[in-house]
Symmetry: C2
Subunit: 361 residues, 2 copies
Amino acid sequence: TVDPAAASGTVRLAVIPGDGIGPEVTTEALKVLEAAAPSGVTFDQTRYDLGAERYLATGEVLPDSVLGEIREHDAILLGAVGGKPNDPNLPPGILERGLLLKLRFELDHYVNLRPSRLFPGATSPLAPHVLDAGEIDFVVVREGTEGPYTGNGGALRVGTPAEIATEVSVNTAYGVERVVRDAFARAQRRPRKKLTLVHKTNVLVNAGSLWWRLVQAVAPEFPEVSVDYIHVDAAMIFLATDPARFDVIVTDNLFGDIVTDLAAAITGGIGLAASGNVNPDRTAPSMFEPVHGSAPDIAGQQKADPTAAILSAGLLLDHLGHPEAAAAVERAAIADMADRSPGATRTTTEIGDAIAARVAG
Amino acid sequence: TVDPAAASGTVRLAVIPGDGIGPEVTTEALKVLEAAAPSGVTFDQTRYDLGAERYLATGEVLPDSVLGEIREHDAILLGAVGGKPNDPNLPPGILERGLLLKLRFELDHYVNLRPSRLFPGATSPLAPHVLDAGEIDFVVVREGTEGPYTGNGGALRVGTPAEIATEVSVNTAYGVERVVRDAFARAQRRPRKKLTLVHKTNVLVNAGSLWWRLVQAVAPEFPEVSVDYIHVDAAMIFLATDPARFDVIVTDNLFGDIVTDLAAAITGGIGLAASGNVNPDRTAPSMFEPVHGSAPDIAGQQKADPTAAILSAGLLLDHLGHPEAAAAVERAAIADMADRSPGATRTTTEIGDAIAARVAG
Ligand SMILES: CC(C)[C@H](C(=O)O)[C@@H](O)C(=O)O
Ligand SMILES: CC(C)[C@H](C(=O)O)[C@@H](O)C(=O)O
């Protein structure tokens, strides 16, 4: 995979447009990516047809050979995967565990990065008295390869009154320490330099103790970073009443899933929320995707907002060692959002064109 | 324990004031309880000195003999337990798992009931455009005796780089079916008759499948109740942007913990949120407590709002078979909240007195 210091030349980019609105938003993200690429950087794209449609047509989720090919790329851009809700031919978990989580686990995306900023022009569901208390600008570093997402657990006597089903959250010092260190490093690079661990140490005492001890153990390497801890339930309250208090949040895979959807909601909705599934050691390609799903109800109608996908492409540029191009994408998207007049509707393509033009201009 | 149909006479009430603001708010809750009691109903109170203070002084959390005595009561009123944050003598989990959760598990409080209403006069952190979309009035039926709260799991090689810590979520058909049936029955009694299962079936496939199948299996007993499902992450978004959509939410122990704190936040804060740890089979006393903690920073200063504790006493009356007295407590608390002038501060006692006077008057 690409060395960030030498990231000119050709970037081998795996593109997984996916289902529903995925292909539409991916088209716009690619458009902006091309517009923002530093001179000398070109993208050699390979498209992979994966998702609900392929599964329903062929029964294939992620063939090993495809995974092997994807692995040979420098980065992955993903639109969205997922079929119609409650499709009886698509049991819950098939695509999530077989494709999305499989990629995150196999490619060791241990940092699931989700920035949360309330951009000017975006509509928050929070009241003015909350918003006036301070700027919402934090990033969630969600662990991506452990926790309750490991697929451990099982079931006995299924379908009988004596059924028992378990889910096992697996947490290792190896897995926790590396994501904690990454979160500290990100906090160190931010003006406020504050790290908040979100967990539930008072109930999940084994995992909670491990997380808390490793935060304490890594902290001396980052003496400028202040450390805070809150329970996940209390985090809900603070996100709703005082989100400006957060700078960098580090948390486990499931808490991160929950926290980041609330974070997206308060900053204007998942239509704007970008994410990176990052392998900081660069032993495999990182994957960038909007937080939103495939929204099959509006697919193919040019109604989807491609901003989240475009911002995800910005995170991709940053990861590949092009922070200026990444910043240009973000600036262009922010300027576009600030200019949106409430009530006016633009097509997916129009929004993508407008942001691409700002990047180029 | 008490038979609701014959609930006159003496109610044996175990009172656990606890730590911090617990004793203050409990005093007001008892005051209102006495004022609201139907004629012929008296409370025979026994106080149990349990919580951080006792633990720090004696090393005792919940002696078996005390648990045995508490079990012989008709109901339990609890203030709040918990010591100073980060007290090195009070490791996380000691009181939570040894006292609060021990009571919930030993007394089979499988329905953790948390009503969420935005009362007139309460300040929501949500914006007017969200609040104007509809009334927030839902109840969360949180499972109380299973899930990731069972204390299953453990750790190996603690303190070494090879440490592994697990937490096991345990879900049984027995445990899920009974709480699901209780939630359906509650939905059936409400005007909108709508039940929403909140889970994460696309990742926690074993537990999620069990929950979903049991919701489907019980549904035919309640043909008037409509059934909905959303993932816990999407629930965050709906709670922040469209909370009026919810009527009865049924969910597991950990998701319930998270959902109810957000629910409390959007309806004016945990200072107003009541809860009941209910054993619907009445094989042991149910326990009523505010959702808030012991807030040691403001303890003993008459700054705590006793409304949540008072509303919890109302839930206790309802459970004991006195729905009219319960409604009178709720009406009095609502009237008190509606009359609060922003900025005016009253002492804990003043608020309790005012609500008790309204109940009596
Ligand atoms: C689709 C699902 C498996 C996924 C997750 O739970 O991680 C999604 O909610 C997300 O946040 O990326
Ligand atoms: C104190 C803690 C153990 C408890 C819980 O997690 O259930 C609390 O947060 C609650 O919601 O009652």
